[in-house]
């Protein structure tokens, strides 16, 4: 398989504060990868780097053979990386339908359009004219994922999809994942729920204090390995 | 703490400047003295505006409200309450501060850029209101009766010396006051508010009270300077007293060109402003265009102004405010 994404030694900073240290990361086309780690481990920072929301000038973030480090976020989006951001970040003054339509502004052709997204999450059709932030948390999450899908991404980043949602709703949302992957979209998901993360992914990375503390095939991970990598009792990398 | 070499040099420098300025009436001619008086009050106004915008994040375009109020207070107190000028001058400041209190309560309902324009509206309200008061000459203004001026001191030379020393004293008091303030807990709180208001509030800095206090204090001092300005001019009109061009535009240009957020910046800006004016004043409105272009250019290229440029290579300061923090967190 060819690499969709290959990152070598990525550092990230907020002012003087360094949030990521020499991250090496790889993803193949159409692969599903989970990224886990404690709060403040740098997971969301990593996604911000991938989407250009946080500067990575002069570093190495190779996407489909070209270095996208330092590109502005709108150009990265046009090349096919979409994100459902942490906290969902829907636009309050726009309706559900308008929020979804904005995703299409990226202008990439593919299987996802308004009808397809509404077929994936039927409730969004019913609520299409309601201001997006008046929906329930789970429905808002569907809008955020739908908005990202509308750009027909090659790589979809899902940040903390299950945060603050009831387990039954989380299951509903994850039920959409096979349909999303079926079109060949690679998925990188940041998840607090480790068993869910391992269950849906092929490979996983664990971050700890801005470093990669563990990576490998999801199926081979044991609970002990992950808790060690998660809480830092053992920094050994498999 | 032992006095270091740089401290000694600094103190020597200040003493030399101080003695030079204080003896002004003995070496300067009338024209020079007038120019120096003007420089003193512009510098004081600039430092006060800098305390608002540079240190407290309160960007006002309406400080002319307090210059004008102070001026009118002086005229009212001396003409209608029969007070001697030396009493009326500080009292004008106090009264201006009192009027700044309700002014601030209205203006503080606006934040950021809206605060700037809001203060301007309020200054306009004062201007238009004073134009309605016929006892103070309405729109055409009023002159200070000569007997009040004569009551200040015997003879014109003595009067001018006195005005000079008052202006010098106010200017020094403003600079010294801000320096002391910035080294105190208040200064620390203001710095925190300017850097990150939310964080400062969360660690217990009483943001609004602090800003309110600074705004009212600055207004009082500005009022006293306004009183001095119109004591020297001997005539006041609403247009001159509440002039946005004289008391906001020029003052802001001085601070921006010299360097916002430092005590040295306004001094540098003030010197440059008067030098430029001597050479370029004949150009009329082109002079204002040039000042505007310089200010905009500085904001775009080096927002810390000329002092920031001077200071970029070598850390050097006339007024040590910055605390040295242990380098290891």
């Amino acid at each position: 398989m060819t690499d969709l994404l290959k990152i070598d030694g990525l550092d990230a900073f907020y002012g003087d504060f360094q949030a990521l240290f020499r991250i090496d990361f790889k993803m193949a086309e159409a692969e599903t990868v989970a990224l886990v780690g404690a709060n403040g481990a740098g997971k969301s920072t990593f996604l911000k780097c991938l989407t250009g929301l946080l500067g990575t000038r002069g570093q190495s973030v190779v996407y489909r053979g070209t270095n996208i480090a330092g590109l502005p976020s709108f150009q990265i989006a046009r090349q096919g990386i979409a994100m459902s951001p942490e906290g969902r970040r829907l636009f309050p003054s726009l309706s559900v339908r308008e929020n979804l339509m904005l995703g299409a502004n990226v202008g990439r052709k593919g299987q996802w359009d308004l009808a397809a997204v509404q077929a994936l999450f039927p409730i969004l059709e019913e609520k299409r004219d309601i201001p997006a932030t008046l929906l329930s948390g789970g429905q808002q999450q569907m809008v955020a994922i739908g908005r990202a899908l509308m750009s027909n991404p090659a790589l979809l980043l899902l940040d903390e999809v299950s945060l603050g949602l009831a387990p039954v709703i989380v299951r509903d949302i994850y039920a959409a994942l096979p349909d999303i992957r079926a079109g060949g979209t690679a998925v990188l998901l940041v998840e607090q729920d480790i068993s869910m993360a391992l269950q849906v992914s092929e490979r996983m990375y664990c971050f700890q204090e801005g470093h990669v503390s563990l990576s490998g095939a999801s199926a081979e991970m044991t609970r002990d390995m992950i808790s060690a990598a998660y809480f830092g009792r053992d920094k050994e990398v498999t | 703490m032992p006095v270091s070499n740089t401290d000694a040099a600094r103190i020597g420098f200040f003493l030399a400047v101080l003695i030079g300025l204080a003896t002004g009436p003995y070496w300067a001619d009338r024209g020079t003295m007038r120019l120096l008086i003007e420089a003193f009050y512009f510098l004081a106004l600039a430092q006060l505006w800098n305390l608002l915008a540079g240190y407290s994040g309160l960007i006002s375009v309406g400080q002319q409200a307090f210059v004008g109020l102070g001026g009118y207070m002086l005229f009212t107190l001396t003409m209608f309450a029969g007070m001697p000028v030396v009493v009326a001058l500080p009292l004008a400041g106090v009264l201006t501060g009192l009027l700044a209190w309700p002014t601030a309560m209205v203006a503080f309902r606006l934040s950021g850029p809206h605060f700037a324009i809001g203060t301007w509206v309020i200054a306009e309200v004062y201007r238009l209101s004073f134009a309605q008061i016929s006892a103070l000459g309405g729109g055409s203004g009023i002159s200070l009766p000569t007997d009040i001026v004569r009551g200040m001191a015997d003879g014109r030379a003595a009067r001018e010396s006195m005005t000079y020393w008052i202006a010098l004293a106010i200017m020094l008091a403003v600079i010294f006051g801000i320096w002391v303030l910035m080294r105190s807990r208040v200064g620390l709180g203001l710095g925190a508010v300017r850097d990150n208001e939310e964080a400062a509030t969360s660690v217990g800095v009483r943001t609004v009270r602090l800003k309110f206090g600074v705004f009212v204090g600055v207004a009082a001092m500005t009022g006293m300077i306004g009183a001095l300005i119109f004591l020297q001019k001997l005539r006041i009109t609403p247009e001159a007293a509440f002039s946005v061009n004289d008391w906001s535009v020029l003052v802001i240009f001085i601070v921006v060109i010299g360097g916002i957020g430092s005590l040295e910046g306004p001094i540098l800006g003030c010197i440059l402003f008067f030098v430029l004016r001597e050479f370029l004043a004949d150009l009329g409105s082109w002079y204002m265009v040039i000042l505007g272009v310089i200010s905009v250019g500085i904001m775009l290229l080096e927002p810390r102004g000329l002092w920031g440029m001077v200071n970029r290579k070598r850390r050097f300061t006339l007024f040590p405010i910055t605390r040295q923090v242990d380098q290891n967190p």
Binding site: T51, L53, P72, S73, F74, A77, A82, M83, R89, L90, F91, P92, S93, L94, E98, M101, L102, G103, N105, G107, P131, T133, A148, S151 | A53, I59, V61, M105, V106, R109, L110, P113, H114, A116, I117, G118, W120, V121, I122, E124, V125, L128, S129, A131, Q132, G139, V249, I252, F253, S285, M288, V289, L291, G292, V293, S295, V296, M299, L300, P303
Partner: protein
């Protein structure tokens, strides 16, 4: 009768104030940015119309064909080249740079056109009026009001029904992530300024026909625009029309009491509303 006339004139004048305000409101909404030279750009538009009228003999209202696109392009380029550098969390640079522009523009106009008060004559339109009962309504004030309703209606339609309009609303909500939608925020900012500048052009040309103006007439227009925006509530375009009308009526009533009170009455009504209802009459709904 005089009072009713004053109120009606005030309402119509409110249309012009809404046109002053719309551009300011739009730029603040999208960029959290206030252009202190806004009033001076309005006056520049008026002088532009005057110049075209004098040199080319264009009808005052037809000058818009040139003034509007020129100002829109100027707005776009100015935002891309200069103002985008000062948009941001720290509001100090943006305030000081636009304040500098205000002074520069005022003095350039002073140098070019002198301090004389000017007025643009629209020929027969100047004196044309309609009688409703005993009330006489001038054609020019009515035209201004109609233009305001048309412009605000057009802007509302644009924001509601076009992709760019949606992007601008989204930028107003959360500009940080607009890049995820494949949109260049710097371009959107410049589009917002271009639209605001086009409205400024319309306001400037209409002002030139309605009243006397001179190079120093800008700042007071900025204050009127600002007052209409705050009275109406930030983020509401129709709110600016209501704000403009309230301001216009307050000034009309003030002038009726004493001509010297016209502007003061407007300011005072603004301050009262600010104290009683600081969020304005029609604040933007928070989601």
């Amino acid at each position: 009768m005089e009072w009713i006339n004053a109120i009606v004139q005030g309402i119509l004048l409110g249309g012009l104030y809404a046109l002053f305000a719309a551009g300011l409101s739009l730029m603040f909404g999208v960029m959290r940015f206030v252009n202190l030279a806004h009033g001076d750009f309005i006056v520049a538009g008026a002088f532009g119309a005057l110049l075209l009228f004098e040199r080319l003999g264009l009808h005052p209202l037809l000058t818009l064909v040139i003034v509007l696109p020129v100002m829109a392009v100027f707005g776009y380029v100015g935002q891309r080249l200069v103002l985008n550098r000062v948009v941001g969390r720290d509001i100090l640079p943006s305030i000081l740079v636009t304040f500098g522009f205000s002074v520069i523009l005022q003095n350039l106009m002073l140098e070019q056109f002198s301090a004389d008060s000017q007025r643009l004559s629209a020929g027969a339109l100047d004196t044309a009026s309609f009688a409703i009962g005993t009330l006489s309504i001038g054609a020019v004030p009515l035209l201004m009001f109609g233009a305001a309703v048309a412009v605000l209606g057009g802007l509302n339609w644009f924001f509601g029904h076009t992709n760019t309009g949606r992007l601008l609303r989204a930028t107003s909500d959360d500009g940080e992530i607009i890049g995820l939608m494949g949109a260049d925020r710097r371009h959107l900012f410049a589009v917002a300024t271009a639209i605001a500048s086009a409205v400024v052009a319309i306001a400037g040309v209409l002002m030139a026909v309605k009243t006397n103006f001179d190079p120093s007439a800008g700042p007071i227009r900025l204050l009127f625009a600002f007052e209409a925006v705050i009275i109406g509530g930030l983020g509401s375009l129709w709110g600016t029309l209501v704000g403009g009308i309230i301001l216009g009526v307050a000034q009309g009533i003030g002038a009726q009491i004493d001509p010297g009170l016209q502007i003061l009455a407007g300011h005072i009504v603004f301050l009262i509303i600010l104290v009683v209802r600081p969020q304005g009459l029609f604040p933007k709904q928070k989601g």
